[in-house]
Symmetry: C2
Subunit: 468 residues, 2 copies
């Protein structure tokens, strides 16, 4: 295992010289806030040795150069809303570099349909500022009210509109980043196409801060759709609900969002918010958002979708109260976690396999004695299960969960799926990454990491360990 220099007074002095005294944190009560994320599984996390809050890309670069000089690990961090320990210190220790002060919206251009923002801008703030100019920033993770756009890029965040607009990678024209050696570079460009050398920005996005520290992104904006319809379709079985995932595209219905909530998740939200949800006794929801050119088109599509849903077995199809239904969908994680410890999964499979996968993981749950609630970005094949601990002892919970996950991942990979649709691998899923990734592919990833970061300074031990 590689080792690093422990942060000492001289190093703190150097950090202070770069960012100022106020922006180097060393007091334990402040470090604690950076020693965790929003995930439940924190055994491998450590407190950072210091936290540094640079204000500019140049300061980020200076910190990285210093870290290379002293051989200290640097962990880039956005808002800390991750779930897999990508933005916390691990066994390698080191300093956390938070982008929270780099929160300027530099430009929203409604002539040319793009925005330039610093990495620490909150996603929902960008959405609101774009909307004020009649534009949509299409990235829409459920944590949008608190997460940073830089973190969205680092994890290739998905969210609710990925069915139509793709993931964060598809929104990003260009990134400004600091390399593991402390150089500043802009990758990509505000271009619709390019065949001018390697598309490095594509691989930096989703690399969870292991290949560079993203300090600024240029994203595409699109005109806000004139009319959006929100349909809530209720099914007595999850399988019927999920049949829409293939039936709608085959009928040329282009959904912007296609979100599934199983009955357990609806009930958990109902208990948490105290707000009554329709058909919550036994319904499973499919929430369908479709963007239309005008009201006439919206009417025609609603009629068509209503018919399709009923053919697929829907017991009710409503024009949804958009605010209410999206509030319910987005608060799921919080509501579910409030009732006791859970383990959250982030499986992704080809969308046409998702109904089958849900059935299989249900069977695995029965065999291993574990229950879960499930929500799903169904349209893109991504399923989140909150597996309930239900008062099990530590040992029993770990034993059952390990058995469950082993079987579930095997099922996921048998369908051509992968571990993570949008949360990333971080520290927590590294073992699964090692088990389920083709060794040749993993070796190519490691080779890239070593080539760009030979001293393994930047976010070491995330996604994979370099040597095992």
């Amino acid at each position: 295992m590689q080792t690093y220099t422990v942060v000492n007074e001289n190093i703190i002095k150097d950090l202070v010289a770069i960012v100022g005294n106020k922006y180097v944190l060393t007091e334990k009560d402040r470090l604690v806030l950076y020693g965790q994320d929003e995930g439940a599984e924190r055994k491998a996390y450590r407190l950072p040795e210091a936290v540094v809050l640079p204000a500019t890309t140049e300061e980020v670069a200076a910190v990285m150069q210093m870290a290379v000089k002293y051989h200290i690990a640097v962990i880039p961090r956005g808002a800390g809303t991750g779930l897999e320990g990508g933005a916390v210190a691990n066994k390698y220790g080191g300093i956390i570099l938070s982008t929270e002060r780099m929160n300027a919206v530099l430009e929203i251009n409604d002539e040319c349909l793009y925005a330039r923002v610093e990495a620490g801008v909150i996603t929902a703030d960008l959405q609101r500022m774009a909307a004020a100019k009649g534009l949509l920033y299409a990235g829409d993770p459920c944590s949008g009210d608190s997460c940073f756009i830089g973190g969205n890029a680092a994890t290739n965040a998905g969210g609710n509109r990925a069915v139509k607009y793709g993931t964060t990678r598809d929104q990003v024209y260009a990134v400004k980043m600091v390399t593991p050696k402390g150089e500043i570079v802009e990758l990509g460009g505000r271009l619709k196409k390019s065949s001018t050398g390697y598309a490095l920005e594509k691989v930096v996005i989703g690399a969870e801060g292991t290949l560079g520290i993203i300090t600024e992104v240029t994203v595409r904006l699109v005109p806000l759709p004139p009319v959006s319809v929100h349909i809530l379709s209720v099914f007595s079985s999850a399988q019927e609900a999920l049949s829409l995932v293939t039936v709608l595209p085959k009928n040329r219905i282009e959904t912007t969002c296609l979100e599934f909530m199983d009955n357990e998740s609806i009930r958990a939200v109902e208990r948490f918010t105290g707000e009554r949800q329709v058909a919550s006794e036994k319904g499973n929801y499919m929430i369908i958002q479709i963007d239309c050119r005008n009201e006439d088109e919206a009417d025609a599509i609603c009629m068509q979708v209503d018919e399709i849903c009923r053919t697929c077995g829907a017991t009710d199809v409503f024009m949804a109260d958009a605010d209410k239904i999206w509030r319910a969908r987005k608060i799921f994680s919080e509501a579910s976690g409030a009732e006791g410890p859970v383990a959250m999964e982030d499986f992704v499979v080809p969308p046409d396999c998702i109904a089958e996968l849900l059935q299989e993981v249900q069977n695995i749950g029965e065999r291993t004695g574990l229950c879960f609630r499930g929500v799903s970005h169904a349209g893109d094949g991504n399923i989140h299960l909150d597996i309930l601990r239900n008062g099990l002892t530590d040992a029993e919970w770990e034993r059952r969960l390990a058995e469950y996950e082993k079987e579930a991942y095997t099922a996921v990979y048998a369908k051509g799926g992968k571990i993570s649709g949008e949360h990333g691998i971080g520290t927590v899923r590294k073992g699964f990454m090692l088990t389920y990734t083709d060794p040749v592919e993993l070796e190519l990833m490691r080779a890239l990491k070593k080539a760009w970061d030979p001293d393994l300074i930047l976010n070491p031990g995330k996604i994979f360990d370099i040597d095992g």
Copy 2:
């Protein structure tokens, strides 16, 4: 400069042992066919020392392993329709590995909307086979009738539908490839999203065969649009025509194709085909394709587009004869080249800058004494200029062209543009790549190349030289 082993009898024997006697070419008259591409600038090209035609991914891997063992350069090649010398031997010599025998369409799945094809499948064949099942393969390079899907992936080919559907990278779910060390790996997956480690397939696509030999691709298919309208809008000035590039999206008109032809290019096509084109005396064309859900929507959109075009200064707006107008657009290169030598440019800029760029390169042409014809995938900011040699001596042509390109690239980069929108860098544009690429970015590219291909076996000296 790195050196390589010259192919000798023993090496030929080893190649024959892998693919069979019939599929190792060494006769000069056959090598000649692989010593060129469809570009005009071939000074740096060499004849390959041999051509090998493997039938399977396993054979490709065996050839690569042999090449590593003997230290011979391997140049992967598709149909040879490239323009920049990406798939020909250069000063490093070596053997060409052609994917032409790997031409099976393995699966077209109309339930799950994808296709799996070998690298040597002709793009138009895939389009036709998909269409027979009611599906669209959205990649659509102008050379589609002869180019291979593997070459499309290697160059991240664009084409006519990139405005709506993106480039080849956006069509590809997964690639099977042989690494520079001769290992077989599948990158990506048939997934709508993934945050499971580095998205290596994204950077292999567009790497012009320098990072791996793509032997199979899995691509997305979409339902064929129910109705497509083709509108030909004629303008007396290029600037007015190009104003549509920003005006249409702002009016929420989503075009599938938005193609510009200047008057000189229309006339060249008319002379070549003998077929009369409308308003060819002085018109500039914008060809607009829009996909619609039904005839009613098509009617409404046509009326709206007609009005927008006329507001932008169109002298005529026709419902186009789709076959005729697309034939004219796609035959441009051939028609233009038939009249004498040209140098073709592939500039890409933000779409909102394209009108201004065209004006600037026209001014540069006047200053440097060079004329051109221009067509453009205008909607995505990609402009192809055929600069006419017009009987200049070698020395004078080279002098003027160098001056022209220097000024033009400077203008392109000043707008945030790049050298190549879709043709790639290959051998021909390497010097510009070196001049105009940020040295930090170039170093990151080289580091990746060296990490994956430490012996520089695979397509050396394409995109960049490793050391200069």
